[in-house]
Symmetry: C2
Subunit: 344 residues, 2 copies
């Protein structure tokens, strides 16, 4: 566990997408954030108090969260310098970058000297094994998507809160760096050895016996030629009885690949169901979450209604309109089959 | 490149499946094998001369191939002892096990002392990147399967030889430890970081301009709940115009998972084509390779004929009956689309 409270790092970037991890922590764990650190050249803010390293430590921050994603997840000299300053001020440092803190001798030496910790949240557990697809107890919901970065984590967190608000035990199972920082645990499935993708998810969301829900954060898309393998392994490992499809209606093409079209929602639903049935034959789709951040309120409402109509499924933007209809569908259906019937 | 000739290691096992890498090297590179090393307790043989380490070195062996797969790919004390003896006799050591030679301080020290090399063939290249799905030049064939261990590597090698015998430039692109040992290169795709599966295959079989074929060894199955993510990433990265489906007709269930049925061949073909179209819309299946090793010659011939009839595709056991019909289908079709038309 990464000790709270946190100082959120923004660095010197002007790209709002690159600070998405810091932004996620600020939105979902505001009570644990004492402030933000940014360099003078950055025009970005999370609306938190801007602090120096020393001020943050004095205000009680125990960990600086390097909640940024550079090109290729690299650690540049600025970033190493700032991480060193955080350690010198007495804070632990946590990072979700591809490049690891533990590979920086200067940071390792400093942390050791001061009795502080470096957290590389993308490091997979050391003892992962291959998945086995054995039917396990418990209720699981997985968010899937037409593409990367369409709001699966936000949808997952909104669903967890909604379930809890209705008195249902529910836990968020994080599979990406931002989710892990928010949840304080999880497995970055895109960072595990390929053989262990489904095994990692079986480990992340094991058998559950309290009648509560594991809401598993999806990654990528079966239609993203870079990452579909991760998405399929996640789908098989999740063994989810319920899927929620996430989608951004105005996305011009698959993220990062202008030659690839975003799939049709109905096709994408069908393909995900077909694949998910391998490990959970009774899986169903309980709703669609749209990311309508690029639309006006009226457009967004119209888009959700039209999508719901067209597909015959509950549809909402979880940030704008909540997930009430989706939870109604999830919870009001017939009781879901349990693992006690080894029905394969 | 792993220096030949080789001493093939069998260890002390009685399980014929566990020596499949040594067996593959013996079958496909007999001219490079000076003999086999086995402990007294092993009843297995590859039909090669049994040699001690010293005899092998004296006979000119430059590398001992640890061509075995233990439970979980572990390195037991016997194996480390034998690897050390090989180094002491003056041979390099190559291994395809999950556990790495380079993590054994005793072997590392010995190799360094004697100026010899340790080859961990499952180590992925250090600079892999995510795949991008960009249409690339060249002709590619990928072997896919209804399950693991149904003969994809044998089929791939038979297809390469068949193409070469017909005067076509063709190369085997290895994706597993045995294939890599045989080819002298390749990438163990199940050992790469999950994000890089398709990128690793794009690297393994890059654009090709000589009108020859890359025959890419498949792994796993879209229907294997442990490994389907690897299979899908491989399918997308391969961008193959031609698929050959491999299948073992008498397999009782998915390998290692009694609860999972082997998929119907037609369903499996459809699902592979559907997924492969994402990165190569013109992909087609050119044949079926059956592993009929558990059948009589007559049964095998009947099974191949019946399968060919039922699916309307060329069907053969590549070991028993060759791949002539499949090559006819592959080569006699209309010219395949080339990458010059950026047809997405």
């Amino acid at each position: 566990m990464i000790p709270a409270p946190y100082l959120l790092y923004l660095g010197g970037t002007a790209d709002p997408l690159s600070i998405k991890t810091s932004r996620g922590v600020a939105e979902f764990r505001p009570e644990d954030c004492v402030g933000e650190f940014r360099r003078d050249e950055s025009p970005l803010t999370l609306g938190l108090k801007r602090l120096t390293m020393a001020e943050a430590a004095a205000a009680g921050a125990r960990t600086m969260i390097l909640g940024i994603a550079g090109a290729g997840g690299r650690m540049g000299p600025d970033l190493i310098q700032d991480a060193a300053a955080a350690l010198e001020a007495g804070m632990n440092v946590a990072s979700g970058l591809h490049h690891r803190l533990r590979d920086q001798p200067r940071l390792v030496a400093l942390a050791q000297e001061r009795g502080l910790n470096l957290f590389d949240v993308r490091d997979p557990p050391h003892d992962l094994t291959v998945g086995n697809g054995t039917k396990r107890a418990g209720k699981r919901l997985l968010t899937v998507g037409t593409d990367c970065s369409v709001g699966k984590m936000y949808a997952s967190l909104a669903l967890v809160r909604g379930l809890q608000a209705r008195g249902q035990p529910a836990d968020f199972r994080a599979t990406g760096q931002t989710g892990i920082m928010i949840a304080g645990g999880g497995v970055a499935v895109d960072a595990v050895v390929a053989d262990f993708i489904s095994g990692a998810v079986e480990r992340l969301a094991p058998a559950r016996h309290d009648d509560g829900w594991d809401v598993i954060e999806g990654q990528g898309s079966l239609f993203h030629p870079s990452f579909a393998g991760v998405s399929l392994g996640l789908l098989h490992g999740a063994q989810a009885q319920a899927l929620v499809m996430c989608h951004e209606p105005r996305r011009p093409h698959i993220r990062g690949l202008p030659g690839y079209q975003v799939p049709d929602l109905a096709d994408c639903l069908a393909r995900n169901l077909e694949a998910a049935r391998l490990t959970c034959p009774d899986v169903r789709v309980v709703g669609i979450c749209l990311n309508t951040s690029a639309m006006s309120h009226e457009e967004a409402a119209r888009e959700c209604a039209a999508t719901a109509d067209r597909l015959g499924l509950a549809c909402s933007d979880p940030i704008r309109f909540g997930v009430g209809d989706i939870l109604d569908e999830l919870l009001c259906a017939e009781p879901l089959p349990h693992a006690t019937t080894a029905s394969r």
